[in-house]
């Protein structure tokens, strides 16, 4: 989903002055893209809702620090993706993810004609996040690596593994393209 949300400068200025109506207008402008971003990165809808709330609390607290450099959506999106990645890290600490993207681990139980959304759900949250941030939101591997606190090669590797997994899940062919073709 490509988002191009223009927000009038006067609205931002009012929000920075603490005007509650202006802050709500910003919330209304960005609630769907923020939730969508979080929901695409995270497996549980309730986690995405929490990220939405945490993101706007941060926006409300920090809007004065926004200097108008770049689109406001870019600034809000950065906060949202950071919150979502923090949640992924926290969940990883609490429990090992049950659905990791080991080749064939759960693919055996997945039909060949599942749609893309279902296929995305089969990915680990880390893989989902990398795919979404890179392929849809347009983040570079360098930006993803910085936000995740990982290396650029980690981001590239996660993306490749995720696409290999999506390919297997979606494709009619039973080829494993994660490595070399036969």
């Amino acid at each position: 989903m490509t988002v191009s949300l223009a927000v009038p400068d006067i609205l931002v200025a009012r929000a920075q002055a603490g005007d509650e109506a202006a802050l709500e207008a910003l919330y209304r402008a960005f609630e769907t893209p923020v939730y969508n971003l979080a929901r695409r990165m995270l497996r549980r809808p309730e986690d995405a809702e929490d990220v939405l709330q945490e993101t706007f609390l941060e926006v409300v607290r920090s809007i004065k620090q926004y200097r108008g450099e770049g689109h406001l959506w870019g600034w809000v999106r950065r906060i949202a993706s950071t919150k979502a990645l923090m949640r992924i890290r926290r969940d990883q600490i609490r429990a090992t993810e049950s659905l990791d993207d080991e080749p064939g681990k759960s693919g055996m139980h997945i039909g060949a004609n599942l749609d893309l959304e279902r296929a995305m759900e089969q990915l680990s949250e880390t893989s989902r996040a990398v795919v979404w941030l890179h392929d849809v939101e347009g983040y570079t591997h360098e930006e993803i690596a910085e936000q995740m606190g990982k290396s650029v090669s980690f981001s590239k590797s996660q993306l490749a593994r995720a696409h290999a997994r999506l390919r297997r899940t979606l494709g009619a062919e039973a080829q494993d393209v994660g490595g070399t073709h036969a």
Binding site: G18, R61, D135, A160
Partner: protein, 199 residues
């Protein structure tokens, strides 16, 4: 025959592929097809419908925001109001003998102020600003903080009145006791939430 890996295909898409991969894909129909599938998958990802939040989270955000604003006001009020009230009252009581009704009021006032200070200290351990609150919980906390702020403001005014001889010490004691009651409710609300979030 070696084919492109998914990393090779990703690099081809980004224009960062090795010389070998760039040459190979021009001659290998399988890899050309895989590259095309990759492009299609990314296009499909971008075309996925936008997901809307199932519930409106603005009321919760607003309640927390208002709570934080009133807490800021209360902090100032506590410094300019409560401390001024305490200082003013202490000055009055020091000038008067602590016997009879005055002595009893003095004792009650000290007790209320001590309880209030203890509760303030205890509340610090439940500072949950960074946590998600439900709209209802946030509204309860914000309401209690607003009422405490209002009492702090009244306390400041009451002290001025006492110094002017327009109100009795009993009113101050009542206000401080009311403040302690609200602080206890706030403490319970925060402690419950802190247990819930595992702090």
């Amino acid at each position: 025959m070696m084919h492109c890996t998914m990393e090779d295909l990703g690099a081809l898409r980004a224009g960062e592929a090795s010389v070998w991969a760039r040459r190979h894909v021009t001659t290998c129909a399988t890899c050309q097809q895989e590259l095309e599938l990759l492009y299609q998958r990314v296009a499909q990802l971008k075309a996925l419908p936008s997901l809307r939040p199932p519930r409106d989270r603005w009321p919760a955000v607003r309640a927390i925001m208002q709570g934080e604003r009133s807490r800021k006001r209360r902090t100032w009020g506590a410094w300019t109001g409560s401390l001024a009230a305490a200082a003013g009252l202490a000055a009055i009581l020091l000038l008067q003998p602590s016997t009879g009704q005055h002595g009893q009021l003095h004792a009650e006032l000290n007790q209320a102020k001590q309880q209030s200070a203890t509760l303030e200290d205890s509340l610090k351990q439940y500072d949950i600003d960074g946590c998600v609150l439900s709209g209802h919980a946030a509204a309860v906390v914000a309401d209690l903080e607003d009422r405490i702020s209002a009492i702090d403001g009244t306390l400041a005014q009451q002290t001025v009145d006492v110094e002017d001889g327009e109100a009795g010490d009993a009113a101050l004691v009542k206000l401080w006791q009311e403040r302690v009651g609200l602080m206890r409710e706030l403490m319970n609300a925060r402690a419950t939430r802190a247990r819930y979030v595992g702090l």
